[in-house]
């Protein structure tokens, strides 16, 4: 039940953009350097994040990436769903036809409920809340 690097890096990428919100397009190169992740790999995350309408980009010289919405309007559930796909803990939650037992299986109900709770948690965490926590943490270090 580990998160893959897609999810972990995806959040770090988005948080980096949130920390530089309203500072114009941010170079992928800079994000990659700050986060210690290769540009090549980050591309795999950028693609679904664009498709999910969470980020936008400018091409060409002086191009770069920026959030498509305010940090307060972007939550962790959206980010994870974009980069990881469905967050259902088991496939039968999304689609009962994957298992003949689905109609009568009580464990399916259990996983459905657990998935719901998890999604609710992720939904309550927004990028701007994370930015706030980040800056608070940096204050404490001083």
């Amino acid at each position: 039940m580990k998160l893959s690097t897609r999810g972990r890096y995806g959040l770090r990428f988005m948080l980096d953009l949130a920390l530089h919100y309203n500072q114009g397009p941010i170079f992928l190169k800079d994000i990659a350097q700050r986060q210690g992740i290769s540009e090549k790999y980050l591309w795999h995350l950028i693609h679904p994040l664009k498709a999910g309408g969470l980020i936008r980009s400018n091409r060409g010289a002086h191009g770069g990436y920026f959030l498509a919405k305010a940090p307060s309007e972007i939550n962790l559930k959206e980010i994870m769903q974009s980069v990881e796909g469905s967050l259902a803990l088991v496939d039968c939650v999304d689609n009962d036809s994957v298992c003949q037992r689905a109609q009568t299986c009580i464990t399916r109900d259990i996983w459905q409920e657990a998935t719901r709770v998890m999604l609710h948690t992720l939904e309550s965490l927004t990028l701007d809340a994370m930015v706030k926590r980040q800056t608070e943490k940096e204050e404490q270090v001083k």
Copy 2:
């Protein structure tokens, strides 16, 4: 973020034992048949469940498996931790030395919190509650 078959089958195995609680040792063969899972594969789950103190067994003829505790004393968190290992969403939650950023990384705090909520949910679900739901569901079908 999908659960592996270990987790899914592990719960079904335990629920099967719970449904036959106090009926003496249950043959692996019977569980395998009811659940549609090979005996060979189930062995991989049985081993950690025994190590985790959740089930016990009798060897030899008329042997079999049974719960080591009452169904009300066994929750989903224990079962998952036994068959899947650590349930931390990311490795750095258990062990900060896996990442140099751990001390200052706000995303680590986020995953730590999400993990905590998830564990709390799993902990609140006990085998006997699932048995109750199962029998209620069967009543409704009639």
